[in-house]
Symmetry: D3
């Protein structure tokens, strides 16, 4: 009876990506723990980049900085 | 000092239903555990049906399938 | 498909009380929102009183103070 | 690698306040626990006052009552 | 910068299974959303079967019933 | 009425550190948002290093690697 919560920033997650996250997370607990998919919940929270911080800064600010410099993904 | 979080899909929960959830959840911990209502928090999260999965599928898809077949509640 | 999380301090919650919380919380969403009990999860977290704070203080300390003065419930 | 979640009611939290919450919460775990800010996440959830209850009532109702009586902060 | 929380019942999850959950959940957000693994957190909560309810009952009770009848997985 | 949840690995957090986290997190929302400390909850979750992953690996493994190489904090 797993419950899986995936929190990501709200940067244009598409419906196809949501379906892939739900399918993949469910398969993970089915494969690894032999759980039933019928009692596996996946909940995706999309968090505004103003409301997510890392390293003292809002993600909004980190994205702004990254757009003006060569940057990796995050 | 209980904290109660109720996550449901965002399918038209009315204000009266929210009041009933808050009142009922608070009464539950007051009755069962003798907690003080003044330090009991109830937080309701309404989750988009695209963002909630069960049995590999989005609830949005499950609702669509249910609307075309005889279906139970969920 | 509700998910209900009840956080309380770990002050001797009995198995009967846990059953009552699970039953009562499930009935609440069944009655108020017409949800199916078969897809309603209730998860109870028991938190050590050292790890729960209110009004700047650990609950452990609040309990200690309350035991030496006339006190209400919480 | 701390993860800090701050839930508040959605009563006009400004961007400057969000920055201050992220900065302050990160500094707290850096100062107290010697954690690295680069692996410290802060996520702020703004909850509608209809969806937050305390003492049996929605915060929306508590705010309405407070606006018609001499009231403290909360 | 995803944060993934996996809640399962505490029924003998092995260290290898925990590694597989962490690896699989991280790969999922890397593959689907192109996130960086270095800023992807996975937190596994193991919940006592007395503290998890579904369909009005504790999982402890559901397991006991299942052990005396032909049963599926969950 | 803020609710603040601080998740950290269970690597010997002392009672004094817990008090400092509770005090500091409460002061933060009092100072930044003018909230009442009497309705501010802080809950600290200590997570086993086997159950926390970052960059595909358990923190347990990262700590083991760090102990055999020059390492930063995290």
């Amino acid at each position: 009876m797993p419950y899986i919560n995936i929190k990501v920033t709200d940067e244009g997650v598409t419906n196809e990506q949501k379906q892939a996250l739900i399918k993949g997370a469910t398969e993970l607990v089915v494969d690894v723990l032999n759980k039933s998919p019928q009692t596996t919940f996946v909940v995706i929270d999309e968090v505004n980049t103003d409301n997510w911080g890392i390293g003292f800064d809002q993600v909004t600010e980190l994205r702004r900085q990254a757009s003006t410099t060569p940057a990796g993904k995050s």
